[in-house]
Symmetry: C2
Subunit: 193 residues, 2 copies
């Protein structure tokens, strides 16, 4: 299983966030949705061995945690506007117990460390200056952790450090979250081929 975890520091937790302003008043929800597409989609289908967890930390009711699980998803399309509706569904009911709102789409209340512990057990923090992914020994079943357009906060970094996360870099320049995920998949695809 390939696991990704993307943190949306301002991502809206309002079940009515606007589908027409994902990059604006929905708090850069577009970053999380593009990350989900990079984690889950092949040219002609879904990566059934992949899942992504999205942590929504924006107003009005953070933290909310959404998991999209490849092998369970049905009718997941590349259109981020449609996928935003899947996220909205999960925000209607607030519970610490995870609930499957539609096939492969799970929602719950969970903090950053709680979300890590649901994904684990081993973690790779993707960041500039980390060990080059082409040379890195990647733990099997690792969860790759990424942020949105903000750096991880100090306590989030601490949570990763406490769990012994390996720091890995994908290349010499800083990339958008979805493009970094595409490069991780490519490296793993090559190792698995």
């Amino acid at each position: 299983m390939r696991r990704f975890f993307a943190v949306g520091h301002r991502a809206s937790t309002d079940p009515g966030f606007p589908l027409d302003d994902l990059a604006g008043s929905a708090g850069r929800m577009d970053i999380l949705l593009n990350a989900a597409n990079a984690a889950l989609l092949l040219a002609h289908g879904i990566r059934r061995d992949s899942e992504i967890g999205l942590l929504l930390l924006g107003p009005p009711a953070p933290p909310r945690f959404v998991r999209l699980v490849g092998f369970r998803l049905k009718s997941y399309q590349p259109d981020i506007r449609s996928n935003a509706s899947l996220i909205r569904q999960t925000l209607v009911d607030a519970s610490r117990v995870e609930h499957e709102f539609s096939p492969g789409v799970y929602g719950s209340i969970a903090t950053f460390p709680e979300a890590l512990d649901r994904l684990g057990p081993t973690f790779v923090a993707l960041r500039e200056g980390g060990k080059d992914i082409r040379q890195a020994a990647l733990p099997s079943d690792a969860t790759f952790v990424l942020s949105d357009n903000q750096e991880l906060a100090a306590d989030e970094e601490g949570g990763l450090r406490d769990r012994g996360a390996l720091a890995v870099g994908v290349g010499p320049v800083a990339l958008h979250t979805d493009h970094a995920i595409a490069i991780v998949h490519n490296e793993l695809d090559r190792r698995g081929a």
Copy 2:
């Protein structure tokens, strides 16, 4: 200069195509816009050494050719809905002479071979089964050619063959256009580092 060329076989040439249905009635315009983001964006800015040409072949007035040129772009954001407005602007006036509609955003009427010849001079066709990009000798100033979710048509393939395009693959599985572009950039970033 890094150049990309993406063909949108159904991409709308209507200057009023709907911003709220980019993946549907706009003819998978989302694919072209995501490709443009992968070609042009770094985490914190624009790739000034990169450009992408988008060929729009959908109704009602194909072919239309849009070039987004990194070093000229101002205020280009990752939000594909906003960027769709940049594309729409270029569709209002139809001319075979290329016109700059806003900084770095050029539009014209051009067929597939005409668009190739504006980008050239050397071409790399990204496709499954091509020579592995990690091993390939990539021509400097090559234009990387990609399709949307349809294969290139026979005459398009012929146009590439006539120009001696090198066939290159990015990995063992078929990917979305934007993810393939991210992997090309990563390889070139590494070679340039």
